[in-house]
Amino acid sequence: MIKILLKQLTILILSFTGITIIFFSLAQLVPGDPVILHYGNLTPGTEQYENAYQELGLDESLVRQYLIFIKDVLQGDLGRSTVTNHSVLEEFFTFFPATIELSLFAILIALVFGVGAGVLAAVNKNTWIDNLVISSSLIGYSMPIFWWGMLLILLFSLNLGLTPVAGRISFVFDIEPVTGFMLIDTLLAYPKYEFAAFYDALLHLILPSVVLATVPLAVIARMTRSAMIEVLSADYILTAKAKGVSNFKIIWVHALRNALIPLVTVLGLQSSVLLTGAILTETIFAWPGVGKWMVEAIFRRDYPSIQGGVLLIAVFVILINATVDLLYAAINPRMRRPE
């Protein structure tokens, strides 16, 4: 276990160094004056401009500039947004909880329905249920989610009036951002609105998370189905059957437990897919998360925000993947080796 841990740590450090080097090199490619890029509109020749120039180490070698960049990053200084003049790090973390809330809810939907559909399909292999699951997962997998989102808005929000069109909560509710997670914050504000605010936040959450869940759900359903079919033909299942274990217990306890192991890896890979989807979903539903924030930063040419945001997201994905690898080693008995 310690060996695996050490290996993951090395990979982590290497990936981080690689990412920073790539970002640093990309920054050299951006057209325009690097000072203006990082600090907004400063006039060359002024004292401010000279200070910024010194701070970026522009009169020194590229290696030195990179070291300055690394030092700043490690100290959590990702610069300031050229538009709002807020610290990029702080700004990122005000938007990040919204994205996490959306993604967690989406992955929950994807897991529950994906695993359920996958198991159902595997148990009823080659029946109409199986065919239905396979074909709908193929459609879900091929879905352009930005269009899917608009379609659901058209149907549920505009035509049926069941769900709100955009945002995280109605303007009527004045919720103090304590944790940044709307569902928790609305519960914390319980004395003020009782469950009305919570219910409203949940209603806002449903459509975006269904949209975001679509692709992972399809992947999980397909994956669970094939893993389940393989496990169900294993000898130990036959043994369990021979011993008279109930069908329900065989499927949902004995088989599913082993079928879910490869799912951990899939979940790790889906974190990247989820964040990609989050960019689109947040844009459609005006969801104030990091995805929407990044797209806006590009249109405003807010370079520090783009750089800092992508760096943080990449580090986040790498951390998740490392955790997933560790988790996989921890739960999969086959990965355990005799000392």
Partner: protein, 297 residues
């Protein structure tokens, strides 16, 4: 003439025959191929099939619903958009962009991916390690986000979107090629070629490449569908093709504001994207089953 069979021979079907037979059995794949051919024909013969120019405006027919509705007009099968442009013609011309651009993207990604994968697979130590780490890093950044960053650096627009999506697709090719090379390297036929004195480049092009084609072809189909969705997504975000270009994602972002007034301008381009991607994925599934029979059910 009488055919006399002296020997009782059982013909063993060739590679292509076997593949053909397997693929034809796959109903979904045949359906996908059928739709894909229709879309291909539509894009190649767009000027003949499309009744109007994609940019032509009919001011007297603004937001005309599709022909099958009560207010529809037979002149405009899929209706017209907010500027009075024929939706059907725009979709047909848009297929040129979607298919053509993704083909370019996949071509670029495959060339670079196979090259890098071959280098990584045939070498050891630092070169292999750095290529793999680089690919891991590219994979760590969510694909669309990476494309967005590349576009943020080189600026929005169609050519830049192509480079961005291509770069995002490269790591998958690298991984597959490298893994397959490592697997094939110790097989007897490769050892034989090596004993014959083949150098690494020759070894790869003459011995290994023909044998790792099946997973590569499957990867091409996967990359193709990803490319179509990503290009449309970039167009939708306003970072890819720019209006009045009839690219499907761009059309969607344009008609978004009229979702209530003219819902068909939203639904129809989306259906076009969905059907195209679905067809490619169906064909991809069929290819995978047919090329690698031991894997299929």
């Amino acid at each position: 003439m009488i055919e006399v069979k002296i020997y009782k021979d059982i013909p063993i079907p060739g590679r292509w025959r076997q593949f053909n037979r397997q693929f034809r059995q796959h109903k979904g794949a045949m359906l996908g191929l059928f739709f894909l051919l229709i879309i291909l024909i539509a894009s190649v013969f767009a000027p003949i099939i499309a009744p109007y120019d994609p940019a032509e405006q009919f001011p007297e027919f603004l937001r005309k619903p599709p022909a099958w509705t009560d207010d529809g007009n037979r002149e405009f099968i899929f209706g017209t958009d907010d500027l009075g442009r024929d939706v059907f013609s725009r979709i047909i011309y848009g297929s040129q962009l979607s298919l053509g651009l993704s083909a370019v993207v996949v071509f670029i990604a495959a060339i670079f991916g196979i090259l890098l994968g071959a280098i990584a697979g045939l070498s050891r130590g630092f070169i292999e390690f750095s290529i793999l780490r680089l690919m891991d890093i590219i994979l760590a950044v969510p694909s669309l986000l990476l494309a967005i960053v590349i576009i943020a650096i080189i600026g929005p627009g169609l050519p830049n979107a192509i480079y961005a999506v291509a770069i995002v697709l490269i790591p998958h090719f690298v991984r597959i090629v490298r893994a397959s090379i490592k697997e094939e390297m110790n097989k007897d036929y490769v050892v034989a070629a090596r004993l014959d004195g083949a150098n690494k480049a020759r070894l790869f092009t003459h011995s290994i490449l023909p044998n790792i084609l099946p997973p590569l072809i499957v990867q091409v189909s996967l990359a193709f569908s990803t490319a179509i969705i990503d290009i449309a997504a970039l167009g939708f975000l306003g970072l890819g093709a720019q209006p009045p270009n009839p690219e499907w994602g761009t059309i969607l972002s344009q008609s978004r504001d009229y979702i209530q007034l003219a819902p068909w301008t939203v639904t129809i381009p989306g259906v076009a994207i969905l059907i195209t991607v679905l067809s490619i994925n169906l064909v991809g599934d069929g290819l995978r089953d047919a090329l690698d029979p031991k894997d299929g059910s």
